[in-house]
Amino acid sequence: MTTYLLRRLAFLVVTLLLASAVLFFLLRLLPGDPANALVSVGATPEQIAAARHHVGADQPLVTQFVTWLGQLATLDLGTSYISGLPVGPEIASRLVVTIPLTLIAFLLAVIIAVPVGFIAAYRSRKWYGLAISAVSQLGIAVPVFWIGVLLISAFALSLPLLPAGGFPPDDWADPVGAIRSLTLPVLTVAIVMSASLTRYVRSSVLDVIGSDYLRTSRALGASFASAMWRHGLRNAAVPVISILGIELATTFLGAVVVESVFALPGLGSMLLKAIAQHDYPNIQGILFVSTFAVLVIGFLADFVQRVVDPRLRDSISGNRVGGRRA
């Protein structure tokens, strides 16, 4: 297990480095000059040059990259070109919105999808089994912003129960306000996420139901429930867990749409603005933190899978990266 953990850690660091290089250099391909943000309209070429020098934008790209890596090593994400304010604290203040949004929505989606997906598989021939299947298919097809707009229209505009958007100025110091603000966004994400999860759970359980070992277990006298409990669920969980990791990562990155619809001050809306303004330090910082989060989620999914599935523990596999089955 220690070897495994070390390998994963090394893998994490290398991937982060590669990702940082890719995002740093790709950003520089954008047309325009971010130094524009540093000076007033009508600045003289000398003033522009001085400003570029001040933030190090006049250095060769490789030097800038190394400087940035050096800052990262000291947990400093740099200073925004546009606002002149440090990037790290702003990302932290945005994460108090995005992380609860993603995690609560994720938990809710799992709570919905596991039993519902199980029923859809166990009773796949009954009308409600088919109905679940059809509805979850629909849920996958519908774009997330549309669900958001529908929920706003129903529970904020027609029935004024919840806010249509925004977040309390006091953050979580106003827990009731924060929870009220997050209710509709969480529901929006959970609905979409549970739709696709339901389908994964269903097909995974269907596989198990049709498996030889379950039939054997029942032939030896176990009831369906007991055979499922002792042998089926654990097997069904393995593929679902790797999907969960990917879903969680996708939701974290996809928060940008929901945050925009609900005017939430999360990481996604910060990214959107940073891109529009070509604010390199902000974009880099957000993407770096997101990449890190995605890699950690992948690692956790992989780790949980190994706990659930003893067969995986025997192989010191480095090839099952990102929580995916090879």
Partner: protein, 500 residues
């Protein structure tokens, strides 16, 4: 999704001008209501930081100017310049020395008393090499700032500047020992900063030690939105009481015939321009520019974007500038005339050009409209969509363009046609001379007369095509009164707002 908060929108160019204003009752009258109220304001202009001289942007002006920070003078909502922190001032006969006396008993939010040193510091903060203030170029004439005593500031100019006092209304006076103005403040205004939750809201609280008339409400919260629909939903659900500047024409219908809301059609100074590069062919020919201008039906364009709102101007001067004249008839919409002018210019078969179009509303829609209009006279338009940053680099700095679309937000900015080095390359020595003379005028009448000549001349030369003047629409709950109606300098004075 709007990108209006972008730094470039506003080629926030300081107009060189004077103080005579236009008159019309601005703000709705505020009366009744509780002084303990919290006013929720909705806006799309979040500040980047809280310092106007460090790239804070339009959002700082909107939230802090007049509310948290005050200038020596105040630009009222109807465009007049009134004394604020300056109790009085004298100008020497040669117009080169201004002597300001400060109000007594003015305290900063930190408790310090305002002195002339703070004023000197604040003006130098705007003019310093580091400053990113859009108003920086307005103060090039300042040669010396002296502070003979705590209550007196004497400013010496190197040349006459009739708009000097008007320009000073844009300078926020800040405590000269204040630290970290990017995220905090120390001004003298009726409100002090509460909390700024970035990406979400900024709150202001009534300052009990205010030297003037206290604010009529206890707290003001600016709520920021990047999505126009989310902003309108907030107004519909009463999460906000007023929207400072409605950017979504389509959404207005839900408030227009609803007695719970008031839709105010105020005065804006934002002009949408089809700016030609007057230095390059074929737009170096006046006839070609006139032909293009006459071939585009501005009225149809305006109504397709803003419905019944907005104004046609026919030149760079909006009706709120003192030197406004209706010049919409100089280059009328007339396709036959356009074809004739094109033929007279030696291009009877038309030509092809590239239109650099910023990627945020309303530019792409306007570009498509222009393309279809110009096809009628045989001119082909290639639309090249660019970001705000590219616009600034390619068009504004490198002048690497044939024609472009851009909104110009400031009042009194016709004077830019007197600068042959400006991005559009309009160079008429007569106009340049009139603009220079206007700034050095001794009376406002003289200045007004000269700038009227400028205005007429640029229209006759079709220096650019001024497509239309934006409307400034403030939508508010009917229970609210006392809010500003006009979008002058993007400010939004909140202290008179009352909620029933």
């Amino acid at each position: 999704m709007k990108r209006h908060s972008s730094l470039l929108i506003g080629i926030a160019v300081a107009a060189a001008v004077m103080l005579a204003g236009c008159s019309s009752p601005a703000t709705t009258s505020g009366s009744g209501g509780s002084t303990g109220a919290t006013i929720e304001i909705g806006s799309v202009y979040e500040p980047q930081n809280l310092d106007n001289t460090a790239g804070g942007g339009q959002g700082v002006t909107e939230a802090l100017s007049g509310n948290v920070y005050e200038g020596l003078f105040k630009l009222t909502d109807d465009g007049k310049v009134e004394n604020l922190l300056a109790k009085d001032y004298k100008v020497s006969p040669d117009g080169l020395t201004y002597s300001f006396t400060l109000q007594s008993g003015v305290k900063f939010h930190s408790g310090k008393t305002l002195t002339s040193a703070d004023v000197k510091y604040s003006i130098e903060k705007v003019t310093s090499a580091k400053s990113q203030s859009a108003r920086k170029s307005s103060f090039v004439a300042i040669s010396k700032i002296a502070t003979p005593d705590d209550k007196t500031v004497v400013i010496t100019l190197s040349s006459r500047s009739i708009s000097f006092v008007y320009n000073l209304s844009y300078v926020s006076i800040v405590n000269d020992t204040a630290k970290n103005l990017l995220t905090s403040e120390d001004g003298t205004g009726p409100y002090k900063l509460g909390a700024w939750k970035r990406g979400s809201s900024l709150s202001l609280q009534r300052f009990d030690g205010y030297w003037g008339t206290p604010a009529k409400n206890k707290q003001v919260v600016f709520n920021y939105f990047s999505d126009a629909t989310a902003l309108n939903n907030a107004l519909l659900t009463k999460a906000v009481d007023v929207v400072t500047s409605e950017q979504s024409p389509d959404a207005l219908s839900q408030f227009d015939n609803n007695s719970a809301y008031t839709v105010n059609n105020g005065k804006s100074t934002t002009k949408l321009l089809l700016a030609f590069n007057d230095k390059v062919a074929p737009f170096d020919k006046v006839l070609v520019r006139k032909a293009i201008t006459s071939a585009i039906d501005n009225k149809k364009l305006l109504s397709s974007i803003w419905g019944k709102y907005g104004t046609l101007i026919g030149s760079m001067v909006p009706p709120t500038d003192p030197w406004y004249e209706d010049l919409t008839k100089v280059n009328p919409y007339d396709v036959t005339l356009a074809k004739k002018e094109l033929a007279d210019a030696g291009l009877p078969g038309g030509f092809t050009f590239t239109l650099d179009t910023p990627n945020y509303d309303p530019h792409p829609a306007a570009a498509e409209f222009i393309k279809s209009e110009l096809a009628k006279i045989g001119v082909t338009v290639n639309i090249n969509v660019i970001t705000a940053d590219e616009w600034y680099t390619k068009v504004y700095k490198a002048r690497d363009f044939t024609a472009t679309l851009q909104e110009h937000v400031n009042d009194r900015d016709v004077v830019w046609y007197g600068n042959p080095d400006f991005y559009w390359g309009y160079n008429n020595p007569q106009v340049t001379e009139w603009v220079t003379q206007a700034e050095q005028s001794t009376t406002t009448d003289e200045q007004t007369a000269l700038l009227k000549k400028v205005n007429t001349q640029i229209a006759q030369d079709a220096a650019s095509d001024w497509l239309y003047l934006y409307p400034q629409i403030v939508v508010a709950s009917s229970k609210l009164s006392g809010y500003p109606l006009n979008g002058l300098n993007s400010q939004f004075y909140a202290y008179d707002i009352v909620k029933k």
